[in-house]
């Protein structure tokens, strides 16, 4: 609760520090516009055209519906990864055997290209929600798992020893010694997994479904509607940036403030 208030209090200062980021985004848009002037509207529509298309898309019910579908799929997949991945990672961290057994499996999961999972999922689950959600889980769960595993494995005995001399009760040991340390590993892993989930969901939709942002993107491609395609991309990137920089980054700063 206290840290939540602190996050809110620091928020204006944090936003103010974002001018540099905004300047670099504008620079990027300027380069984009130069590209438009060289290659023309079909290859690379201008930023202005893209953003006005985006505006039209956002006032279109069909697009908003697709956006919601995509959000739902991403959140279901990410939610499962978050809960299952964290739980399994903690377990594996606390038991040596489990961590030895899980390491090669994680390497296999992480090394396998998501596109291969999509193909398999299409065979197993057909075209629809399950395929997309499965792919999202498979791609983002190992990230969360590794974060939780690292967090648990790097716990230091020396703090526990100190706590034992002060006869610290079990619950306090958990909240004051284990949790802050583990969380500082798990939280960044969650953020990374969220980014992964968002990318994978669109890719899976593009290949395996007839609705959602990915499907809209496929549609724009088949109609050579470059402006719409770019607008959808901007929407996707924009949403991720808002999630990351407005919500997650301030929390991350608060959580990791004590680190070197």
């Amino acid at each position: 609760m206290k840290s939540l208030l602190k996050i809110l209090r620091d928020f204006p200062a944090y936003l103010w520090s974002g001018w540099g980021a905004i300047a670099s985004i504008f620079l990027f848009i300027a380069v984009w516009d130069v590209g438009n002037q060289i290659y023309g509207d079909l290859i690379l529509p201008s930023p202005l055209e893209t953003f006005s298309t985006l505006w039209i898309l956002f006032s279109d019910n069909g697009f908003m519906e697709n956006l919601m579908i995509t959000l739902r799929r991403a959140m279901v997949g990410f939610g499962i990864s978050l809960v299952v991945g964290t739980a399994l990672g903690l377990l594996a961290g606390f038991f040596v055997t489990a961590s030895i057994v899980s390491r090669p499996i994680v390497t296999i999961l992480m090394g396998m290209p998501p596109i291969a999972w999509i193909v398999l999922a299409m065979i197993w689950f057909g075209m629809g929600d399950a395929t997309v959600e499965f792919t999202v889980v498979v791609a983002s769960l190992p990230i969360v798992f590794v974060g939780a595993l690292q967090g648990t494995k790097t716990l230091e005995d020396k703090f526990e020893e100190m706590a034992d001399i002060f006869k610290v009760p079990r619950t306090m040991k958990f909240f004051d010694i284990y949790l802050p340390h583990i969380f500082s590993y798990v939280f960044p892993a969650w953020v990374a997994a969220l980014g992964m989930a968002w990318k994978i969901v669109v890719m899976a939709e593009l290949l395996a479904t007839s609705d959602g942002l990915g499907a809209s993107l496929a549609m724009a491609r088949s109609q050579l509607d470059t402006a719409s395609a770019l607008a959808i991309v901007v929407a996707m990137v924009g949403l991720l940036m808002i999630a990351e920089y407005i919500f997650l980054e301030p929390i991350k700063r608060e959580v990791e403030k004590w680190r070197d």
């Binding site: 020396k158 020893e161 100190m162 004590w258």
Partner: protein
């Protein structure tokens, strides 16, 4: 009266005998030092007495109600600021957050920490400041028994003196019992009622030195002359291998 009594204590890691038949007693209000070369089992003995290691042979009877420790490395929790670190032991005792903060702030000022340091995290503190916080954390709980595991050895002489004075004050008021581990004989002479000499391989107590002069009356001259005396002691020379060859 509370006491820590160690009887026929032996301990080994695998085939290595670390401690062999250790016997001693610390009574309430006493300061007892264990002096010996590094790697001689001093820390193992402390860990056994503090209940951090399970004993194998022999008996340890620790009837002190509360205990605290200061290590050589300060062991501050990196995610807690100065005040919360100091209040850690108080929290374990179940004090309310207001009480904890008042007590922690009071002792922090007493230990020459500035108010502007209170919200700092350990990463922002110098080594000396961290050790002050570590001492404050140990002493704020008003422990009946204090374990000191070479807490002065990494400090400059000024700070060493300062922290020793804090401990000395408690000793003079008869408020504390101390189990002190060190390899610095001079330090031990300044603070202790009794010095146990622990010889290594396997760790065993070979001699006990006792000091009757109250700690507050031990001036530098006393400390130096006693140090000189101890350094010429046969057992000390052999234990620390001081002989010139």
């Amino acid at each position: 009266m509370a006491r820590l009594k160690v009887e026929n204590l032996s301990f080994s890691f695998g085939y290595d005998t670390i401690l062999d038949n250790i016997n001693f007693e610390i009574n309430e209000g006493e300061v007892v030092s264990i002096v010996g070369p590094s790697g001689g089992g001093k820390t193992t003995l402390l860990r056994l007495c503090a209940g951090l290691l399970d004993r194998q042979d022999g008996d340890i009877d620790n009837s002190f109600e509360t205990q605290a420790i200061a290590f050589q490395d300060p062991r501050l929790l990196p995610w807690k600021n100065v005040i919360d670190n100091i209040a850690f032991g108080l929290k374990a005792m179940g004090l309310s957050s207001v009480e904890r903060e008042t007590k922690a702030k009071e002792i922090a000022l007493n230990f020459d920490l500035e108010e502007s340091d209170f919200a700092k995290f350990p990463k922002e503190l110098s080594g000396g400041m961290s050790q002050r916080v570590s001492f404050a954390r140990a002493l704020v709980t008003k422990p009946k028994l204090l374990f000191l595991d070479e807490p002065f050895s990494a400090l400059d002489i000024g700070l060493k003196r300062e922290l020793q004075d804090h401990v000395m004050e408690l000793i003079d008021n008869n408020e504390i019992t101390i189990f002190f581990i060190t390899h610095d004989i001079m330090e031990a002479i300044r603070l202790s009622d009794k010095i146990l000499l622990l010889a290594p391989d396997p760790g065993r107590i070979v001699k006990i030195f006792e000091f009757d002069v109250p700690q507050s009356q031990r001036d530098d001259e006393y400390v130096y002359s006693q140090t000189a005396k101890l350094l010429s002691d046969r057992e000390i020379i052999e234990t620390f291998e001081l002989e010139f060859k």
